[in-house]
Amino acid sequence: MLTGTKLEALLAKLRRALDERGSAEAAEQLFREVAAEARRLGFVSAYVHYVLAAALDRMGKLEMAFDELKKAVGADPLALPLRQAFQDVAARLRAALADPARAADDADIPRLYALLAAAGEADLEAHLAMVRFAVATAQLERARVLAEAVTTLFPAAREAWEALARVARAQGDVARATAADAEATVTGVQAPLFGVTGKATA
């Protein structure tokens, strides 16, 4: 077991971070220093990453909190409380990404999408938001690849086929657009019955 003055100093710093009432940024800094020192000592502390994530979440830094929770779950993959916190933040990121009030060409979309997709936490709505972004920013080839992948991942989702039809039509690919429209017509369900998440790849 790690003991000694170095550990004591880091634990004191960690307690100071948890007790920090004045400045959330100061607490964040302390947590990050402890995490970095712990790593230098050969420990990836799920606990430190978890409490840092909680602090970041309280500060409204949801993406950073997600990143820290990923580290915590990576260090302790069988920890239910960490997994639950990770799922909670992922759900809030998905909701933020698919917010109907968000403009289709919002510059935050690719970053939020990449964060979720890299963690295998992108759902249908997240993928479709990215397809819409690619169309809105004239990246039709990218939109097409993604839309094709989404229909593979969610073949029962009408919205996925409708998105593919829109992209194909924008590209002038009438045949593919018609075929996708036909699929959309016979697909009665608007969204998958269960919350399937996953990374769409072509």
Binding site: M1, L2, T3, L7, L10, L11, L14, R15, L18, V34, A38, F43, S45, A46, Y47, V48, A75, D76, P77, L78, A79, L80, P81, L82, R83
Partner: protein, 94 residues
Amino acid sequence: MTSETKDEILLKLQAAQILSSEEPEKAELFLRSALKGAEALGHSSPTLHLQLAELLYRLRRTRQALEQVIEVLELDPFNLVALSLKEVLGRRLR
């Protein structure tokens, strides 16, 4: 004999979580079984040991709880929850 999958272990942990207040002895069985499965998969989970320590503390099995807390601190010496529990258990043993 094949190892349990991570999902099977997580299922046991969920069962333990649900049972921990009403049937702690049964929860302990699930937790110990999950720990065994995790070891077979090469995972050492400080949180799992901590859950077991908290359960054993509630069952007043202080020495066994302390053993689990020591396991937590071997894996994650920065876990302040485990450190606090260690102090409480130490006081109880004195």
